[in-house]
């Protein structure tokens, strides 16, 4: 009798009528609203992606039928191969691949050089303040807000006077210069957030400028370096303006080549090839985001918040 009553009591407890155990989760109107918004927002961005992918897998006759949303009836990778190897930009019909290699040749050195310079800059500004360091830093921050278009003409004059205009080193220098303000800011803020006693301890231990940088600061800079790599790779890979102006015809990056393929006026418009070419060009930054998104967030939280 008593046992039965007890279980009954327990049952009401477990049913959530009396607070007991984990707090029951309830779906509120606000939460439903948030999910609805998220779903709509992702559809908004994913539908064009879906159309691009299905279109790139269709043959031209199928595209002419005009069923934009339909799945390809006979999926084919020919447009992808064409985009990579045979698509025409004006007279040359070598596809996107030369642009891809050009972009790699531009991006890798630009990213590496700009990050190396910026980390040393940020380190020196934080721990070895010299006369005028604050002024220099102020100028750098100011530089982050200068619109690019304003400085293009002076840069062209400057680079051509030293014979670097329309060359690979020329475009690398341009990217390095334009990455410097934001990257230095990023690294300086990261180092400024480290306890200064770490630096003092290393000084007492007898380490100098480079030893402290390489043995102590650099190993701690992984998160912020990842952030910088992502920023720079996506920025430089997606760049069109500097590429078309400063790289020179033989070094045109992928974005410029893509533009030329899509805007070619001769012959029929091969939508499937254009779609494939666009996806190929966007693939590198996308992959970088997917691979390092976790690091990106962590790095932002570690370094970029505290000013």
């Amino acid at each position: 009798m008593t046992a039965a009553q007890l279980t009954a009591q327990e049952l009401t407890d477990r049913a959530g009528l009396v607070p007991f155990g984990p707090k029951p989760r309830r779906t509120s109107a606000g939460r439903i609203g948030i999910y609805a918004f998220l779903i709509v927002a992702s559809l908004f961005f994913l539908i064009p992606v879906y159309i691009m992918i299905v279109t790139s897998l269709k043959g031209m006759p199928e595209i002419r039928l005009g069923h934009l949303f339909n799945f390809p009836v006979e999926p084919t990778f020919q447009p992808w191969a064409d985009a990579w190897l045979h698509a025409c930009t004006g007279r040359d019909c070598n596809g996107l691949s030369p642009g891809f290699y050009n972009s790699v040749k531009i991006t890798v050195p630009s990213v590496a050089i700009s990050i190396i310079c910026a980390s040393i800059n940020g380190y020196a500004l934080t721990f070895w303040p010299y006369k005028g360091a604050n002024l220099l830093f102020g100028l750098l921050v100011f530089g982050a807000f200068v619109p690019y278009q304003v400085v293009i003409y002076p840069l062209i004059i400057g680079l051509s006077s030293v014979g670097l205009f329309a060359t690979l080193p020329g475009i690398i220098i341009v990217h390095t210069i334009f990455g410097m303000p934001i990257l230095t800011l990023l690294f300086r803020n990261f180092y400024a957030a480290l306890p200064v006693e770490l630096f003092k301890a290393a000084r007492v231990d007898g380490a100098g400028f480079w030893r402290i940088f390489f043995s102590i600061m650099l190993p701690m800079s992984v998160p912020i370096t990842v952030v910088a790599v992502i920023l720079q790779v996506t920025g430089i890979w997606n760049d069109f303006l500097f590429g078309i102006v400063f790289a020179g015809r033989s070094n045109w990056p992928m974005t410029v080549q893509l533009n030329n393929i899509v805007n070619t006026t001769t012959g029929v418009r091969e939508y499937n090839v254009n779609m494939a070419a666009t996806i190929l060009t966007a693939a590198v930054p996308l992959i970088i985001y997917f691979v390092s998104g976790r690091w990106f967030v962590r790095g932002i939280a570690a370094g970029a918040v505290k000013g």
């Binding site: 006693e197 003092k200 000084r203 007492v204 231990d205 043995s215």
Partner: protein, 366 residues
Amino acid sequence: MDMAENGTSVSIQELSLNFGAVSVLKTLNLDVAEGEFIVLLGPSGCGKSTLLNCVAGLLDISEGRIFIKGKNVTWEEPKDRGIGMVFQSYALYPQMTVEKNLSFGLRVAGLPKDEIAKRIARASEILQIEPLLQRKPAALSGGQRQRVAIGRALVRDVDVFLFDEPLSNLDAKLRSELRVEIKLLHRKLQNTMIYVTHDQIEAMTLADRIAVMKGGVIQQLDAPQTIYNRPVNRFVAGFLGSPAMNFIDGRLEKDKGDWHFTVEDVRIPLSTYAFEKEPVPGPAVFGIRPEHVAFNSGTGWPFTADATVEVVEPMGSDTLVWLKLGKQNFTVRVTSERTPRNADAVSIGFDPMRASLFDAQTGSRL
């Protein structure tokens, strides 16, 4: 130099330091004897860390000279000064194991491998951190981290140890344990140590001499007992001791050749008080520590008075009693057995020999 027979280890002469227009240290002089344990004690912002950083060579000084072991090191790099430093935040290199942390300075100096190993073995034995050598700092407790930080100074075989509040990040129990360990370490190594703290218990227990600082100036440099019993001014008297010394504002008066301290209708005879300088009648401050006051048991105190009990605070071994003496607030510390029970009115007594008298204007000891 009065420490000459012992040898001066660190000598700071006429040291000034300004940050821009702000003067943080003002023509400061300090001589530390060989093997001495000096504690720099003072409120936050008085320039203790700044002074230590100057000795270490981590800050460029504005004026003056610093000698370590008789050598003028004013312009030397930190590593060439023969100092090791331990920081409040440990400042261990987070990406290195404990062993690498300890050996970093030695590797920078280019010492041979077997010498490095020998020194690490010795330091880690002294500090009992052998089992931790392969761990990263993140995997250590606060006390272990601070031990490693001390070890980093230890392996460098330096003449002078500089500690900047090494224990203030630790909880009370660990702090008292490590305090004893540091004291033992000092006894074992016989190095000169300069130790910054704002914890007066640390200062009293560790120091051979305490330098009490305020506003970038050393107020008093003396043995702990002297500082405690004969503070040179009102600031030092109030800064040391917890609960703080009782201060009474009143007048110094001479009556038939005997000096008295009077406030309202209370008259404290000063026949047993040892004056620092020739007294003159006028306003003065009378200070006496709570533990130097007793509840009167009728025996012959030079001074007795009646007071009313306001609050009784039992603190375990001791009891703190808050009284009103006339209009003056007054605290008395007695052992728990001697706590007055259920009494509103008590009579207290003390010997003015234990008291301190200060000039009302300048605050300096009379």
